[in-house]
Symmetry: C2
Subunit: 345 residues, 2 copies
DNA sequence: TTGTAAGCGTTATCAA
DNA sequence: TTGATAACGCTTACAA
């Protein structure tokens, strides 16, 4: 018969590979249980023993094997974050807040980027086996059934996503500020024909912005034009500007779905000799640094994205600690930032 | 005696918690080894059996426990990336490239942010027990002894870091382009008194940029001024602009350590009535989107940061697959992007 | 092609 | 306060 595990390396010298808890125990002349205790509850160990073990740990440069820890402790000590990509300040801010909340709880963050990756669903499922909880960005385009399936294994929340049965959804307020912004253009600046630039179908938060756009029109007894489809990218913005200059699009105000798009539109318009805001007002969303630095300054909407990331990280930690923990507020207020591109002085 | 592990749950019905490989095996009427094989080497299993097992896997929504996999397979299937923060496009691009390389190898990425976190060294050590390899950003300010200690356990590389014994260092070329840029200001635009804005001690790549600045002066038989200390932040840039307008700083050219700083300086200068580039030329580093959108356009240096991230991720994968794999080129070329802020038309 | 069983390196329970 | 040991859920020789 094989001898019990704890006797398997009697007197064996230093072994290849990183030191294990066995090596430390042997060197310090204690059991592995004591080494484990020194690390997790030092006060349960006598000072003499503790000091000796710690000395050996330092000397052997011992770092506990994370997978073994996770397996035995039944916790991965890691949260997953699924994002489409990392362009622009939005996702980076989100990740920063999320990581900060996770770190406060001793958890690390595993990031998965899905854009342009055909097998995202597979990767997401695999990730589900390596983390204690997961957050999905709505725009990551993970199949709702996959989200639901994973939600039955680990706590899952959505970020700026669609409303899914049984999956909490956290986002920054969008519809109201989009309505406010649109009304500002319509009423305060007397614009007559606004166009929403962006694809509501691409991401739930873009959809909500368009809804605010529509509401503003409806509130004034007008009808909103259908959205002008565009990716949230610079090239899409250039194309919009080209179409506008070519007369394919007619408007005195362009409500763009984000700043990247808006800035590219504004630049393209400027190059074509169209005056912003005199000929056409332009607004964005996100308040990039560039929005403040261009001329005219870009009117946009600022979102507390880092706070959102933090909120979601904290929520995952909370629900992990207590499954009955009450759900926190699931949206964060935004603010319209008026600059000159909307016509303000 | 305890019965062997594989018999421990005879006939036990569905258990609480996520399905395990045992549940799948039982339900499919095969051994756990077969289930494992279906997942890792499907061709070693007969089609009949495979189909049956897959059906059960789907039905039970089985996802292998990552920690158990890692422990048994002796691989975490994860790479660690240690960054100071995520502001600006630099780190996000780096992470994007790194994640992409990792994903190609079936590995996930664990991100650790160290800025303003007192116990970064501790977190870094813990992380070392959860990943197969790690990359450290030089600016993350992890103690070199910690990096070395971790390097003795898992493959480790530095990004834009200092040269450390036995630790590979990957970066974008800096000194040469800084020299080129500085010479451009000195020779082509005839500037007489340049100031380097940034703190070389804060990050190795800033130091290398300053070295190029110094070299350019030396090559022309001149002496470079000492660096004007400044964080890579907007507020630091505003402060520099204030000091300049107040006459505390005198120069006809400011070579700033990055774009964020440069843009803030330029804006502050503009607000104070200083003409860029007529009164003072300003240059940055990174080529943010904003650098292209401001007026005057910001002369800067473009770095292939995403490629750098990819290179490093690939290198980690390579050295993991074969410890003797030859070290690839450890730097990537950059390009100076001339716009109007340096005085170019 | 399939099953048996020995690890993988921890944590945690229980007894001493 | 410490030690012995089962358990965590897999992978992977080796055997059948």
């Amino acid at each position: 018969m094989t001898p019990p595990r704890h006797q398997r390396r009697p007197g064996s010298g230093p072994r290849p590979g990183p030191a294990t808890i066995y090596a430390v125990a042997e060197e310090a002349g204690v059991s592995i249980a004591t080494v484990s205790r020194v690390l997790s509850s030092p006060d349960k160990v006598s000072e003499r023993t503790r000091d000796r073990v710690i000395e050996v740990i330092d000397r052997l440069n011992y770092v506990p094997h994370g997978a073994a820890r996770s397996l035995a402790a039944r916790a991965h000590e890691a949260y997953g974050l699924v994002l489409p990509e990392l362009r622009g300040p939005y996702y980076a801010e989100l990740l920063t807040g999320f990581e900060s909340a996770a770190a406060d709880r001793g958890a690390s963050v595993v990031v998965l980027l899905t854009l342009d990756r055909p097998t995202a669903d597979l990767a997401v499922r695999r990730l589900a086996g390596r983390v204690d909880a997961m957050a999905f960005m709505g725009g990551a385009r993970v199949d709702p059934s996959t989200v639901a399936a994973i939600g039955s294994k680990v706590p899952v929340v959505q970020l700026a996503g669609v409303d899914l049965d049984g999956v909490e959804n956290y986002s920054t307020e969008s519809t109201d500020s989009a309505r406010t912004l649109t009304e500002h253009l319509l009423v305060d600046h007397g614009r007559r024909r606004l166009l929403f630039v962006g694809s509501p179908a691409d991401a739930p938060d873009v959809r909500r912005r368009y809804e605010g756009f529509v509401e503003a029109h409806a509130g004034l007894g007008r009808e909103a034009a259908p959205p002008v489809a565009a990716e949230l990218s610079e090239s899409a913005g250039q194309e919009i500007a080209r179409a506008f200059s070519a007369g394919e699009l007619s408007a005195d105000g362009l409500v763009c779905a984000n700043d990247e798009l808006a800035l590219a539109v504004m630049r393209g318009l400027g190059d074509a000799g169209v005056d912003v805001p005199a000929d056409v007002a332009v607004t964005g969303w996100d308040d990039w640094m560039a929005a403040r630095y261009v001329a005219p300054g870009l009117t946009t909407v600022r979102q507390p994205v880092r706070d959102l990331g933090r909120l979601v990280g904290e929520r995952l930690g909370g629900v992990l600690a207590d499954p009955e923990a009450p759900e926190p507020v699931n949206w964060l207020p935004t603010s319209v930032v008026l600059r000159r591109s909307c016509g303000c002085p």
